[in-house]
Subunit: 225 residues, 2 copies
DNA sequence: TCCGTTTTGTAACAATTGATACATTTCTGG
DNA sequence: CCAGAAATGTATCAATTGTTACAAAACGGA
């Protein structure tokens, strides 16, 4: 069936053949809900009691701030799941209000049924575990990066990370502007730090190539900063 | 057996009776490794190919910085698992080097066997899913909090979050110093912002009670900052 | 209640970064 | 090779926060 073809590309059913998906789904209780344009799918704060996968169409997540204005957060298109990270854990509530962008079909698998699915089909289990683990790892890394306060620290950490253990130079693959955005600082501020570090003999810059002249010095920035 | 009694309190086997744990473990392949004080358990960067649970004793995680110095990160005592968030996902490597603090026993369950365990015992599956989901949710919230740059924004967000939708005042449960640490700023800087916001008529402070006089004003800080 | 400790309010100054502007260099397509 | 665009280096000033210090207020136990 066409819809299982589509689902085979979703993060949850990845690696399974459409007929396998069909067979597994037939073993459990699930439903398909249809929404029209601008229909509300879920309300922020509602308990998450099922895995919901956008099967056709797309939805958007919106947050309502404390004074009542709405703010679009993200789009989710088929065949991606929504709020898959809030199906388990302490906080099982939708972090956003979800609204259909167009004619949309959503596959709804109650949490209990999804557990069965994972127990019966190892591929689904590993897919789901990989998905939420990857997310945790991503967040964890991002958080570690944000723990460096000053621009000097961020630059030092970035360069040492990029260079690894043996390389003595780093090839920048992005512009200063992109790097500044990554660090969450302004471009002139970043350029200033590059300039300072070069004058201090920590690094040497030639176009996109940065030579690490004083690894120990760069390191000390990460502790004594 | 004593050790299963202990394991019943671990995040992974929580909610199971010792004899249930014993029975489930008998269905799979696992091993128990013993370490003496200061023995190295795993090396940073090694692939994570098994779930490891400290069954007796305790271990510490250490990171080696770029210049070779070691830095203690955290202690893990029985009956907690180590690196349980790195068993799946893109980055399946130990983020730290792990060293035994004392005579230590570690239960080692290869990833494939752990998958079987989760498929056979729903309690273990939900325990594990809850554990890593909670961690994701925690990190996600922390990251969102860090997205507010200025202290004013952090304070406004914190107060509105604490107050919820209806309350008009917030009872501080921690000292300014603790709050400042939570925000990652210095205490005088935080006190200054409190003072400013009070002078501006946004809030009114009486001891540990903060009255929100202008919710809309606080809100605007979150956007226009 | 009284005294020592902790917490809080406040100030002055230094350090860092953002905002903005502009000249220079490098890149890119013709 | 050339011209326009993009990227980079640099400067100035404003805003924010850290640092340090000290006094007032609140707290807690004898």
């Amino acid at each position: 069936m066409m819809k299982f073809e589509q689902l085979a590309h979703s993060p949850i059913f990845r690696g399974m053949k459409p007929d396998q998906i069909s067979r597994r789904l037939s073993e459990i209780v699930y439903q398909v809900r249809r929404y029209g344009k601008d229909d509300q799918v879920v309300l922020m704060g509602q308990p998450v009691e099922a895995l919901m996968i956008v099967q056709k169409g797309s939805v958007r997540g919106e947050m309502v701030d404390y004074s009542g204005r709405t703010l679009k957060i993200e789009d989710i298109e088929a065949p991606r799941p929504l709020a898959s990270g809030f199906l388990f854990g302490n906080n099982r509530r939708f972090p956003v209000t979800v609204i259909a962008n167009e004619e949309t079909e959503i596959l709804v698998i109650p949490t209990g049924e999804f557990l069965k699915l994972m127990q019966h089909e190892q591929q689904i289990l590993t897919n789901y575990l990989n998905a939420i683990s990857s997310r945790t790892q991503f967040l964890s890394q991002k958080l570690h990066f944000l723990s460096f306060k000053s621009i000097r620290e961020k630059v030092a950490h970035f360069l040492l990370q990029q260079a690894g253990q043996w390389l003595h130079s780093v090839e920048l693959k992005q512009t200063q502007q992109q790097l500044a955005d990554l660090f969450g600082v302004t471009r002139p501020a970043l350029a200033r730090v590059f300039g300072e570090m070069q004058r201090e003999g920590l690094i040497e810059i030639d176009r996109k190539t940065i030579l690490l002249k004083d690894r120990k010095g760069l390191n000390d920035l990460l502790k004594n900063g």
